[in-house]
């Protein structure tokens, strides 16, 4: 595959089907919607968590609250990344996360370092009764002993390949694509 010609791994319908299935799995794992809180990891985890909440509401008639988490300040490589500063905001739903079943939602699971940072950050907000990790794509390549519980698509990508989730309103369409790129991923 040459750079600039991304291969589509999931089209809009495939993503929607996966989200519907993931929503069911989340409800099953957590014994219903009660006490469930979805927390999207900035940025694409945020619209994904909103879509999952929509799916859960459609199926269960109740919508779990949705928050967002920006893990930037919890990264383990702050000093090694480039010089343009934007920190996103972390915003947890009313009522906090103490004693609740928190679902961390992210677009792509790769090394596990984002999730480690998200777990650290959540611990600063409170003590959930349990935490589930839900990702649309697991691309392989873990560097830490962390793995997702609920997955939309599993794919083995090489280090020099880039797996991207496209999702409105951040992107024009809903899809998962893979492309070659110069490999400098952290």
């Amino acid at each position: 595959m040459s750079p600039g010609t991304p291969r589509e791994l999931m089209d809009e319908r495939a993503v929607e089907r996966a989200l519907a299935r993931m929503a069911r799995e989340l409800v099953e794992r957590n014994g219903g919607v009660r006490d469930m809180v979805l927390v999207g990891v900035h940025r694409r985890g945020v619209p994904l968590s909103e879509r999952l909440a929509d799916e859960i509401e459609r199926a269960e008639g109740a919508r779990p609250p949705v928050g967002s988490l920006d893990i930037t300040l919890y990264r383990d490589d702050l000093m090694a990344i480039g010089p343009r500063p934007v920190v996103g905001e972390s915003r947890l739903p009313e009522g906090g996360i103490d004693g609740r079943a928190v679902v961390i939602v992210d677009d792509v699971f790769y090394t596990g370092r984002t999730v480690r940072a998200a777990l650290d950050e959540l611990a600063d907000f409170g003590r959930p009764s349990r935490i589930t990790l839900c990702v649309l794509v697991d691309r392989g390549g873990r560097e830490l002993p962390i793995q997702p519980d609920v997955v939309g698509l599993t794919v083995q990508a090489r280090a020099e390949q880039r797996v991207e989730v496209l999702i409105p309103p951040l992107d024009e369409r809903l899809a998962v694509v893979m492309a070659d790129r110069p490999g400098d991923e952290s």
């Binding site: 990344i81 343009r84 500063p85 934007v86 905001e89 991207e164």
Partner: protein, 319 residues
Amino acid sequence: MPTFLGKDLIGLEHLSAEQILAILDTAETFKEISERPIKKVPVLRGKTIVNLFFEPSTRTRISFEFAEKRLSADTVNVAATGSSVAKGETLVDTARNLEAMRIDMVVIRHSASGAARFLAERIPSNVVNAGDGRHEHPTQALLDLLTIRDHRGRIDGLKVCIVGDVLHSRVARSNIWGLLRLGAEVAVCGPATLMPAAVETLGVRFFRRIEEAIEWADVLNVLRLQLERMQAGYVPSLREYNRFFGVSNDRLAAASDDILVLHPGPMNRGVEIDSDVADGPHSVILDQVTNGVAVRMAVLYLLAGGAPEAAEAAKGGGR
């Protein structure tokens, strides 16, 4: 690795609009950390910061200390009194000794203009100017800018008047440079004895009468009248200063309804500002204090190499 702000923050005079806006945007997101149940993020964990205060300052030092602690840095406060400075040690010797203890950042307040730059050029640690003589007080100006932007939604095109002792004020200088860089119209108002010679060359208007300034301005930044100026003969008496330049509710009646009143503190109530203004609906003085912590967090973070947009790029495809 060069950081977005460079090694040090000495003043606003040489910062670009992009850099100033980036500090304000970062500060905006840092405000939320102070609302959390655990008001701390690990971003400067393991970093040691020395607050080197050669001049007394409670507000600025505490604000820096909160900012440092909320970013998980380890901090040490050194005051001139009781330290080896009182025994005649030079600034550079003090700094070199601190360096030898493997510190990462120095926040310095000094009565000599240029002290912060002097230090920055001689030690490898990041240096943040917390006020040097009559020169600059960049974090104060940044928190003023953030407060104005919070309340007005912009800086560009606003009319801001700085009232009082502009001649001796580092706050005024930093404010003038920052405001002009972001596209505000800036004026000063105060007794001619407390204005720099040819003040207009700084790019500001000069109002001799406070009534005119108030009528013109969207924002008033009222400076503290340092009382020693009275002994030095710059103003005849506090009562007279208040009569001619004091910001009172009567005078604000002529202002636009949504005029903002800022003051860097500590205030001389009844001298440069009346209590009913300081505690009134136009005052955003306590917002300035709150914003001070967020702005200082942003500055320390950016000097340390903070970088999240790149983080987003690095994250592409998940981490």
